[in-house]
Each structure stands twice: as structure tokens, then as C-alpha cells.
């Protein structure tokens, strides 16, 4: 599977959020994106996934063009910074509800995903009552539960303690072994060094490959 971004451009309120972004990503590899807050990392995730339309440029998945051949990128699991789940549902109810859209997985798969991120699937607390770390874990569980071909992870280590970060790193490596294409945005240099095969830097909406990181 090959995911390509060609000359992506996006302006919001006159400000260039994405400026001629070009990328080529393939399955079974982990790509990292680093950059300051507001550099355009999250916007790039939204543009690549089809949650936001660009003013110019194309996103191509195996020769098929986003918004022409499909309205959102098929087979993606995504986590975005600050995006939560339904506050009045429990973790399991949230994932079951979201899984009901594609109807690809069963309750057992949802249970397994929740356990995989170190949470209790039978926890009766609603999402609103979760701690920040628990919220992050359950959001990661929703991203991986359907075994997606593509994973976009925006700051996956946010709000996690040391143990949590270890768990998530293990999951990312397992997903890579499974053959998923993984794109991670992180402020955590250790995450980037340990997990990624290639690293890109973003600044003012422009992307460039960080040299000396190709394995």
C-alpha cells in the first residue's frame, strides 16, 4: 500500500496551514513528524485522512484519489490531539458504537483492544469520568480495534505515564509488524528515535525530510 500527498496546500483565514506538502508513505513502515505547536502537523493528518479538504493538491492511495474515488481515506485508524469520545458513554460503549458504523468487528475484538491498551472493558465509568491517561488509552484502542491498514497517531503519548508510554510503543511496533502504515506526530524525541523509520519536520506548513535518519 502506498499513500502519496502531492502539493497539498491549505489556507485558513489567509494563513498558510499547509504549504506545498509532498509525501510518499508505504506499508510496514513508521514515519515520524516533528515540529512546533501550530506547525501544521495535525492539519496534515486531517488533510491526509479526508477530514479536511485542501485548496490544492492530491492525496493518492494506491492510484486512487481522495475525494474522487473515496470521500475519506479507507481503512484508517486515527487519533488526533484534543479529540475525545462521547462523554456519556463508557469506554466499551463508545467503541461498540463506533465499531457499529463499519460493522467489521465483534464485541470480542473490542474487548481485546481495550485490554491491549491496559484498560478494563467492563469499567462502568463513563468517558467524562476517565482520567486524562485513560482517555488517551481508550482513544488509542478505538484507532487500532479494526486492525486498520493505515494509522495516524497525533501525539499518542499525551497524558500517559511511563508505563503507558511503554505499552503504546509496544502496540505501535506490533502494528508495524502486522504491516500497517503508521504516521506519528510527537514531541517526544525518544518516541521518534525508537519507533520511526523516517522522520519529517514541519515548520509553518512546510514539510522536509530529516536527513540522516533513513535506515
Amino acid at each position: 500500500m502506498k499513500l502519496t500527498a502531492e502539493h497539498l496546500q491549505k489556507k485558513i483565514n489567509g494563513k498558510k496551514i499547509l504549504n506545498d506538502v509532498n509525501l510518499e508513505l508505504i506499508s510496514g513502515r513508521v514515519y515520524g513528524i516533528v515540529g512546533r505547536n501550530g506547525s501544521g502537523k495535525t492539519m496534515l493528518f486531517r488533510a491526509l485522512s479526508g477530514l479536511m479538504k485542501c485548496d490544492a493538491g492530491k492525496v493518492i492511495l494506491d492510484g486512487k484519489i481522495l475525494f474522487e474515488d473515496f470521500p475519506v481515506l479507507p481503512g484508517i485508524g486515527i487519533i488526533l490531539e484534543n479529540a475525545g469520545l462521547y462523554p456519556e458513554l463508557t469506554g466499551f460503549q463508545n467503541l461498540k458504537y463506533l465499531a457499529g458504523i463499519k460493522k467489521k468487528i465483534k464485541d470480542d475484538d473490542i474487548y481485546a483492544s481495550i485490554k491491549r491498551v491496559g484498560l478494563d472493558p467492563d469499567d462502568k465509568r463513563i468517558f467524562r469520568k476517565y482520567s486524562l491517561g485513560m482517555k488517551q488509552r481508550i482513544v488509542i484502542a478505538q484507532a487500532i480495534m479494526e486492525k486498520p491498514d493505515i494509522l495516524f497517531l497525533d501525539e499518542p503519548g499525551n497524558a500517559l505515564d511511563e508505563e503507558g508510554i511503554k505499552d503504546i510503543r509496544k502496540i505501535i511496533m506490533e502494528e508495524k509488524e502486522r504491516g500497517a502504515l503508521i504516521l506519528i506526530a510527537s514531541h517526544n524525541k525518544e518516541d521518534i528515535n525508537l519507533l520511526t523509520d523516517e522522520v519529517y519536520t514541519m515548520s509553518n506548513g512546510e514539510i522536509s525530510k530529516m536527513e540522516g535518519r533513513e535506515d
Partner: protein
């Protein structure tokens, strides 16, 4: 649970609406009950303004609760919902269908509660005209409830939930005030000439006018005899068509809005 709770609440509203009627009427028919429950206790004129606002409370409660029915998917979980939901237009049509069903069930609970009181208190007799009048009243109320609640959802998408509900509720109050202040048209004689025609058009096209059963007319004499208090040409079919077209316009508008929503802003109404 929420849906069941809403049905019980609607039944309670129905009972509250019919009790003053059953207490004051020694004799009543199915048709007269439909007239009463269809804003029949609301007169025309500024003195009835509060009565009208009170009568519309069951609808406002529904609008408050289900005004977030579609909108909630565009809040904090929007990224995770719409990265999976590929066909947004068919999703929207399914959800509006579900909202229409909820409007129907909510209204049905309201009217059936009245029907029970009627059946217990009075010797039960029913005619075809009664049934038709009842169906007209329920259809008009369901369509209005659906259209207004859908409008809250669509406006919430463009603004936020409080503004969405606030604008629609504000418009309802505005139309009720206009409706009630048009008393000169009927109570003090119809103005002549173009002014009279304009007032009549304004009154007839006022959305809340459609809700008041007893002003309507019907080509069917038996039904017309139960309603048409002011002998005007305001056929039930006009209201049904008016509200059906309004609903269709809102559905088309909604499809346009949800297709254009870009899931950029994070943490909406967390």
C-alpha cells in the same frame, strides 16, 4: 432509556393538556378532543400569548433534547465518527428518518394519552370525520416538531448547540407573538383592501398558525363543522403541504451543510 423517558414525559404532557378539557366538558367527542389538544385552548389576541407559550412547552422540550441528535456527532468524537462514516449523505438521511420517527412517537404518546382520558370518561363513539381530523392534527404536529428540531440541529452545526436552539426558540416566540397580535384580523373585523389581504397572507403563512387546529377549514363538511371558527379558507391540506415542503427544504439544506463541514475545530462542546 432516554427515548422511553421522553415518551412518558410526552404522555404526561398529553394528560396535563386534556385534563382541563375533561373537567369542563360534560360531553365530548373524539373530534372535539383533537381540536382541544391541537392548541384549542389558545385564543387569538395578546391575552393568550402566555397560553400559547405554555401550550408549546412539550415541543420545546423535544427540541431541546433532540436538537443535539445529529449535531452530537460533530462534537468531540467527530473525527472518530466521520473517519469511519464514509457516506455522509446517506448517514444524514438515515438520521433524519430516525428523527422523524422519534417526532411521530413523541406526538403519538401525547395524543394517545388524551385518547385514554376520553375513552375512560365519555361514552366512546367515533366517526370517520373524527379519525381524519385526528390524523390531520397529528400529522401537522409531527411535521412541525420534526422540521423545527431538524432546524435546531442544522443551525447548531453552523454555530453551536445553544445558539441553534436559541435561534429556533426565538423564532417560535416571534411567530407566536405575531400570531397573537393579529387579533384585528378576526376579532375586530377584517381590514379591507390590500392591507386586509396582506394581513391574511401573513397570518396564513405564519408557521405557528398551522398548529392551531380550530382555525382550519376542510372540504369535508363533517370535519369543517368541527373546526373553521372564523370561516376562512385555510385548508388542512395547505398546512400539511406547507410543513412537508419546509421539511424537505431543511433536509436538502442539511445535506448541503453536513457535506461541507470540515472537521477542523477540536474539542467542540467537550
Amino acid at each position: 432509556m432516554k427515548n422511553l423517558g421522553m415518551l412518558l414525559l410526552s404522555s404526561a404532557f398529553g394528560l396535563l393538556s386534556i385534563l382541563p378539557f375533561s373537567a369542563s366538558q360534560p360531553d365530548a367527542s373524539f373530534g372535539s378532543m383533537a381540536v382541544w389538544m391541537g392548541f384549542g385552548n389558545v385564543g387569538l389576541g395578546s391575552a393568550y400569548l402566555i397560553d400559547f407559550l405554555y401550550a408549546i412547552v412539550p415541543m420545546v422540550v423535544f427540541q431541546m433534547v433532540y436538537g443535539l441528535y445529529l449535531y452530537r456527532h460533530f462534537c468531540t468524537a467527530s473525527v472518530y465518527y466521520f473517519s469511519r462514516c464514509i457516506k455522509r449523505k446517506s448517514w444524514f438521511l438515515q438520521e433524519t428518518g430516525s428523527l422523524l420517527l422519534k417526532s411521530f412517537l413523541y406526538e403519538s404518546a401525547y395524543w394517545i394519552a388524551g385518547l385514554f382520558v376520553l375513552a375512560f370518561k365519555y361514552p366512546f363513539s367515533i366517526t370517520m370525520a373524527d379519525v381524519c381530523l385526528f390524523l390531520y392534527a397529528v400529522t401537522i404536529n409531527v411535521l412541525w416538531l420534526f422540521a423545527s428540531t431538524l432546524a435546531v440541529n442544522i443551525l447548531a452545526l453552523k454555530t453551536d448547540s445553544v445558539a441553534g436552539f436559541g435561534i429556533i426558540f426565538g423564532l417560535e416566540v416571534f411567530f407566536i407573538v405575531i400570531y397573537n397580535f393579529m387579533e384585528s384580523l378576526f376579532l375586530y373585523g377584517k381590514p379591507e383592501g390590500n392591507a386586509g389581504k396582506l394581513l391574511f397572507i401573513l397570518w396564513k403563512w405564519n408557521p405557528v398558525s398551522q398548529l392551531v387546529v380550530r382555525w382550519h377549514s376542510s372540504m369535508w363538511k363533517e370535519i369543517d363543522a368541527m373546526v373553521n371558527d372564523y370561516q376562512v379558507n385555510f385548508d388542512f391540506n395547505f398546512s400539511v403541504l406547507y410543513l412537508a415542503i419546509l421539511s424537505a427544504i431543511l433536509i436538502i439544506l442539511g445535506i448541503s451543510v453536513i457535506s461541507r463541514v470540515e472537521l477542523i475545530s477540536n474539542g467542540m462542546e467537550e
